[in-house]
């Protein structure tokens, strides 16, 4: 009897090798070097820090995050210590993650094109493995104006500004809250991005307490994440892959191995994990990685390369 091969989970994201496709999504847990190290030790294939911007921000008042059942809704409001302190945190995170073989993705935001260029330049001093431009936070519109992610030209302009000051692979995180996400994806790739992260939170949405009549989030509205948005994330990854064939971190509502496989069959290279940490904490990564490995083993696949984009090959016969 032939010896059964053990499948491997390694993936290559824009030239950066990941031990497995599971990426801690930005905004979840990535606030300190110690916590990012813990996530890596718990089986993440890459870790994204919480988005950092030019200046320190306290974010919105509480409530900022709610578990409403089929998912989360949040309006943390880009709380972050500002780029000066963030560079120090990221240097330390890098130092801790490197021996584990787990890449660090630095997520940045700003309220202007110039701001994006400056924060990107600064964050590269910490030598992250990749940089992700968060142009799609839906929770700061009152202060920042319309997110750059809603318009192809604005998204491209930010990417063009960040590209020359970024000596790392550059990802752009897209919003699902557009009518034509492929147009935005095309624009940022043409402007120099190496890959895409899709999707940021959906909405914004609102949850109202019916006893008091108050919207519960202090910001009144917030981005929707978790299983409720997964089918939308999968469809967007599918559309982006069909038209662009670039590396994508497929993110949105993934909570188990089955969801990871689905995202990769849609075309994702790696898969973001965010809201699912409320299920089992950082241990969610090793649990899901085990489930992915079990699937590959039981189906006779040697690696995720064999199933990437599989859904695109499956079409009804045309008569």
């Amino acid at each position: 009897m032939a010896e059964q091969l053990t499948p491997h989970l390694r993936v290559n994201l824009c030239g950066v090798p990941l031990p497995n496709p599971l990426v801690l999504a930005s905004g979840i847990l990535g606030t300190t070097a110690e916590l990012m190290e813990r996530v890596a030790k718990n089986g993440a294939g890459a870790v994204t820090c919480k988005s950092c911007g030019p200046e320190p921000r306290v974010g919105h008042p509480n409530p900022t995050v709610l578990d409403w059942g089929p998912g989360l809704i949040n309006a943390v409001g880009l709380a972050n210590p500002g780029i000066d302190e963030a560079v120090e945190i990221l240097r330390e995170a890098r130092r801790r993650l490197q021996p584990l073989g787990v890449p660090l993705i630095a997520s940045v935001f700003a309220d202007s094109v110039k701001g994006f260029a400056e924060v990107t330049r600064r964050v590269c001093q910490a030598e992250p493995d990749l940089v992700e431009l968060n142009i799609s936070c839906p929770n700061v519109e009152a202060e920042f104006g319309r997110p750059f992610s809603l318009d192809p030209e604005a998204a491209a302009e930010v990417t063009r500004a960040a590209r020359p000051v970024c000596d790392r692979p550059l990802l752009v995180k897209l919003s699902p809250n557009v009518t034509d996400v492929v147009a935005i994806g095309k624009a940022v790739i043409a402007a120099g991005a190496d890959g895409l992260t899709a999707i940021n939170t959906l909405g914004p949405g609102m949850i109202i307490d019916i006893e008091s009549g108050w919207p519960i989030l202090a910001n009144r509205v917030g981005g929707v994440s978790g299983p409720a948005i997964r089918p939308i994330a999968v469809r967007i990854v599918y559309d982006l892959w069909a038209h662009l064939h670039v590396p994508i971190i497929g993110t949105g509502g993934v909570t188990c191995g089955r969801d990871v496989i689905e995202m990769i069959m849609a075309g994702a290279t790696a898969v973001g994990i965010g809201s699912a940490v409320i299920q089992d904490g950082p241990a969610v990564f090793s649990r899901i990685a085990g489930e992915v490995r079990d699937f590959l083993t039981s189906h006779g696949y040697a690696s995720l390369n064999e199933i990437r984009g599989l859904a695109h090959a499956r079409r009804h016969m045309e008569s």
């Binding site: 847990l29 606030t31 974010g59 089929p70 943390v76 006893e211 519960i216 909570t255 299920q279």
Partner: protein
Amino acid sequence: MRDGTWNPELPIPMTIREVRQETPAVKRFVLDGSLNAYPGQFVMVWLPGIDEKPFSLMNANPVTLAIAEVGRFTRAMHLLDVGSRLWLRGPFGQGFSLEGRHLLLAAGGYGAAPLVFLARRAREDGRRITVLVAARSREHLLLVEEFRRLGCEVLTCTDDGSDGQPPRLAPLAVEELLQRAAPDALYACGPAGMLDALEALARKYHLSTQLSREAYMRCGIGVCGSCTCGDQLVCRDGPVFRIPG
């Protein structure tokens, strides 16, 4: 979404049934609801239009909170009276686990609330409890009578000696008690400096110890990363942290 099931953890309203001034800064709020919680766990209390903050439970049935007026949110809390409503999410976090026959509880300042809940549970199964209630001065000693009523041996200590005893900081008093009473386990809640000192004592005396820590908290459910203590999340891995004996 917890455990794959779609059970929302949205705030639920409860009505205040009783308010009692405990010390110049602290009021006790007894609510009309109950929660399936254990000592050391906390709830997120939401006042619509104001804010939402974490508080350890002083009792779960009925839900009871002891809240010190220290800022904008707690000032608003202190304006509430019998019949007012407030909203709760939770219970959240890892609470105390009971171990040993003779427990030493050290309550610093506002830290007495979760220890009252613990003392009640521990007395229910007949454990012996010694409590040290510490505060900066006599009028701030919190819930002393409550501990006595539960059958605990209660000692006090104050930073300024206004309780009639020599002025002492809580960790010193605890160290004396460790030597004199030789408890099986130490439980504490109070200011960070006091807890750090007690952690050092726990290691020095190889005493099984559980410390309830405070942190600036947002989500309460372990996603936002606001309440880190090293690589630990106070809301999810804590607020009670164990130091093995």
